[in-house]
Every structure is written in structure tokens, then in C-alpha cells.
């Protein structure tokens, strides 16, 4: 039998994310953002990280604000419903953060190239744009067949992908549903994988539906149980998006001082998912709970 990969979140981050790591996270854009794991990076004072992801929706800003980040490879760093993010702005404008500018498509292709095991992927986007000026992993090239002008996107192979999803077994086999963004490609492309899951389930819950598996479990290094680990982003099947959380963060992160207060309250004082849900409070969790359920029809994998 395979060995259990179930670890406390703190140990998973400690063991598989050394300083200097490149980390793919926030891969499904607005949904399934691994906030609990991101906050653990902050608590453990990780340094010189490279963060990789399409749009991030405030998680990158939080990790940048805590001083953990050396470089960003992303298409958009901000707060989807309020706009710019302040820690990110401060870091770029002061010159302390290296930036590799992608579009969503070039980042998707960079991870897909990594997933496919090829050194680059061609694309038709971004031609004529200035992304080429601030991203040396984009080059123009000529198609060997059609002589079309193309954008070559260099492969990305993150050291670790951190993925929050709905349910996993202790062996690293896991289900995600909803929009999947770059999750599947990033898992294939990355050297290590850490999964945080709303639920740890019996192995047969996963193995009775292998099409819903996100990546083969033998490639997963750690599984951590993290209920509400995606909050304030939405997790299909578990809770709705906490819009107020994103709106509040705009004010909370406006200055370095207010950000420190936010960090004390939401990160430093939290030592477990139980702490986090206590802080969140039953009332707020109830407000975010699903009120309209909609269950998938079963399918038969028998023989």
C-alpha cells in the first residue's frame, strides 16, 4: 500500500517549500484560492519566493506584503472587485519586486509547456505588445510550416504547485470541481504538489470517480486538511465567495501599518484551521453557506 501523505499544513509547507522556491498558486483565478496555505507561507517567514499564477485576487498581495516574495510571474495582480492591490504596487514602484508580465494565455501556455515536457509552446497572442519588453520568456518566432509570426512562450516548471480543492484521500488522490483554470496543467508541470482540502475522505470516494481526479496521487507530496482553506474565495460545493472579505482588504492593505494589523489578526494569530474558523465566526460562515444545492448525477465505472 502507498504511504499516507497527510500532514498538518504547517509541516507540509515547512517540508516542501524551502526559501527561494517558485510556487504556482491561485490557479483557478477567482475560485479555489489556497489562502490557508498562503498564510502559512507568511507565518513561516518564507523568503525569496517566486509566485506564479494568472490573476491571484489578493493572495499574492498578502504574501508580497509580508516580505516573502522576490519575483512574480503573473498576468494580473490585484483585487478583482476593487482593483489595484497596494502591497504589490508599493513593491513594484519601489523596485523591490521583480516582475515577469504575462497574459492569461501566455501563462497558461508556459505551464502547459511544462506539463507537456516541451521547452516552449507557440501562441498567437501578445504580438505587437510590450509584454516582450518585461518578459524574456516570450520571443517572437516564425512557424516552421506556415511562416506565420508567432509568440514562443518558454516552459515554466514550478518547484511546487499549491492547490486548494474539495476532497482528498490521505494518499494524495483528490477531486476538484468547478472551473479548473490552470490547476491541471500546473500540477503536471510542477516538481512537487501540496494539496489542501476541505475534506479528507475515504479512498474509495475518490477512486469511484477517476475522471474527477486532478492529478495522479502518486505525484502529490503532501495533503493537508484545511476546512475554509479557500476563504474568502469561493469553493464549489462548500461556500460562496465572501465579497466583504475582498472589499475590507482594500482598506486593510492601504498602508503598511493597516496591513500589519490585518496580518496580525488574520494570519499571525491563527495557528490552525480551527483558529481561523473561530475568527471567521459562525454567523459569517452561515452567510456564506450554500442555500441552493445541485447534485451531480452518478455514473457507473463498473465492469
Amino acid at each position: 500500500m502507498p504511504v499516507s501523505r497527510l500532514l498538518p499544513l504547517s509541516e507540509a509547507i515547512d517540508r516542501f517549500v524551502p526559501d527561494g522556491s517558485s510556487i504556482a498558486l491561485g490557479l483557478a483565478q477567482e475560485t479555489l484560492i489556497p489562502f490557508a496555505a498562503g498564510h502559512e507561507l507568511i507565518r513561516q517567514k518564507k523568503r525569496r519566493l517566486t509566485l506564479i499564477g494568472p490573476i491571484s485576487d489578493i493572495l499574492f498581495d498578502q504574501i508580497i506584503g509580508a516580505g516573502c516574495v522576490h519575483k512574480i510571474r503573473a498576468a494580473w495582480v490585484g483585487n478583482v472587485i476593487t482593483g489595484s492591490c497596494y502591497n504589490f504596487r508599493r513593491a513594484v514602484e519601489s523596485g523591490s519586486l521583480e516582475m515577469e508580465d504575462h497574459s492569461n494565455l501566455t501563462l497558461a501556455m508556459a505551464l502547459r509547456a511544462g506539463a507537456m515536457g516541451v521547452p516552449f509552446m507557440p501562441a498567437r497572442t501578445a504580438l505587437g505588445s510590450d509584454l516582450f519588453k518585461t518578459n524574456t520568456n516570450l520571443k517572437t518566432m516564425t512557424c516552421p510550416f506556415s511562416s506565420d509570426q508567432l509568440t514562443a512562450v518558454a516552459a515554466l516548471r514550478p518547484d511546487v504547485a499549491i492547490v486548494h480543492l474539495q476532497r482528498a484521500d490521505i494518499y494524495g488522490n483528490a477531486h476538484a470541481w468547478g472551473n479548473l483554470g490552470l490547476i491541471r496543467d500546473a500540477c503536471l508541470a510542477s516538481r512537487h504538489i501540496i494539496i489542501t482540502a476541505e475534506e479528507i475522505v475515504e479512498p474509495d470516494v475518490i477512486s469511484r470517480d477517476p475522471n474527477r481526479v486532478i492529478t495522479p496521487g502518486y505525484r502529490v507530496n503532501a495533503v493537508a486538511h484545511a476546512p475554509w482553506g479557500g476563504h474568502p474565495s469561493p469553493v464549489p460545493g462548500f461556500y460562496n465567495r465572501d465579497h466583504q472579505g475582498f472589499i475590507d482588504y482594500r482598506t486593510e492593505s492601504k498602508t503598511q501599518e493597516t496591513f500589519l494589523d490585518w496580518r496580525k489578526r488574520w494570519v499571525d494569530s491563527v495557528h490552525s484551521w480551527q483558529d481561523y474558523t473561530k475568527l471567521l465566526g459562525k454567523k459569517r460562515m452561515a452567510q456564506l453557506a450554500l442555500t441552493h444545492h445541485d447534485f451531480s448525477e452518478s455514473v457507473d465505472y463498473g465492469y
Binding site: 483557478a28 483565478q29 477567482e30 475560485t31 494568472p54 490573476i55 503573473a74 498576468a75 494580473w76 495582480v77 490585484g78 478583482v80 472587485i81 482593483g83 489595484s84 492591490c85 504596487r89 513594484v92 514602484e93 516582475m99 508580465d101 504575462h102 497574459s103 492569461n104 494565455l105 497558461a108 501556455m109 502547459r112 501562441a123 498567437r124 497572442t125 501578445a126 504580438l127 505587437g128 505588445s129 510590450d130 509584454l131 519588453k133 518585461t134 517572437t140 506565420d148 509570426q149 508567432l150 468547478g178 472551473n179 479548473l180 483554470g181 490552470l182 490547476i183 491541471r184 496543467d185 474565495s233 469561493p234 464549489p236 460562496n240 465567495r241 465579497h243 450554500l290 441552493h292 445541485d294
Partner: protein, 253 residues
Amino acid sequence: MSYTLPELMVTAAAREVADGEVVFVGMRLPLLGFLLAKSTHAPEAVGIYELGIVRDTLAPEPILTMGDLPNLYRARWLADTADMMGLLQQGQVDVSFIGGAQIDRFGNLNTSYIGGAENVTTRLPGSGGACDLASLAQRHIIIMNHQKRRFVPQVDYITSPGYGTGTGWRRKVGLPRGGPTTVITTMGVLQFDPQSREMILVSVHPGISQETVQDNTGWPLQIAEELTQTPKPTENELAMLRRFDPQRYWTGP
């Protein structure tokens, strides 16, 4: 019925969608524009969302972001970003909407670096999917605040390509199709000269004069021969819109 400026803009955006079209739906106002089109004159429009959603029905509840769970509920397809980008890159997207912080006379957009990448004064969030939509949709619509500091002769950084330096530029750099057709601003609606590819003011919003638009534009603005007034939202459009944004988060005064 009174309306707000964002409501006027969203309504103008919605009217750009023809029935049955495939729309690549962006965040914020474009999200509302698509919902409004879908619920009025374009019931058969199909929405593609970059995070991995295809849907051709309205979400059952108001949504603020494309990832809100009602937008996933009974979607036609939930899949990977790469799948959505494949449809876009193939040319299967008729129209898309993007916003911008800085625009020039040829419709190039900057949402990355004010001051340019070398001497950045303000770092903006970046492209997201905007560069891709501007590069690869059959056409794209831009939604902007109309201010002189935003309407500049030349953008500091091209995040999302418009017509570059004018006629023939897109073909020259290798873009396979597309380009901006309409810019909907807080003051009016602009289109592009089919020859020169330069922006032309075609309508002003009620209460806005041609001169005010020029004063807020950083270059001598071309004006259409028959300058019109942007049509106001109808009562039906407003009613729909307020259903999608009941707390007036995006379309409040």
C-alpha cells in the same frame, strides 16, 4: 426613469452584442454588459469566461465576479483555461470587452505601467486576459474613464494591442485578426476610422458636449460627420440591469 453613468455605459456595451454571438466575458462592467445583452436582445449569445466556464444562460443570482458560484451552476462546460484560450485563439470568439487605464488614438491600451516599465510611477494590475482578447477576438470593445491623463497620444506601455501605429500594423506584427471597434467612455462612444484606424467620436452621452470630450482627450480628436447622442437605457434595460446588480455595486451613482 433616471439612470447612472455606469448604467448608460453598460447599456451601450450590451448593444454591441448581436444575438447568437460568442462573447468572451471579462470582469466587472463587461460581465454586466453580457448579462444585459443576454436578457434583452441577444438571448442566444454564448459566454466564455477565461477561468474555465462556458454558459449560455443567466446565472440564477446576481454575481460580482465570474467565479461566483451562481455563475458555475448549470454551466454548459466547466473546464481548463487552456480550453477557453483555444477557442479564442482559433478565432471562435466574436466579441470581447476589456477595460483600460490608458489609451491612445489607435486604441492601444495600457493596464500595466504608468510611466513605462523602466520608469514606473504607477504599477497597475496588468493584462489578465485583456492582451489575449485584444489580440485574438474577432473584435473587441473597450470601456474607459474619459480623462486627459488616460486619453494620451501614445500609451506608456502596450498591454493590449489596438491598431498599433495605424493601418496595416496588426497584420505586420502577426496578429491574426481583430482589433478594437468601439470605445465606450464616461463621456461618449468612439469608433475607428476604417482607413487610418484612428479613433473618431461618434456619440456623446446626454449632457456632454463635443468640446468637453475634446478637453478631456490628449490629442486633436476626430469627430464623426453626424455626431449623435448616446441612446439612454430603456426602462426594460434598467430593470434588468438592476436585477443583476441589485446593490448597485458596479452601477451605482
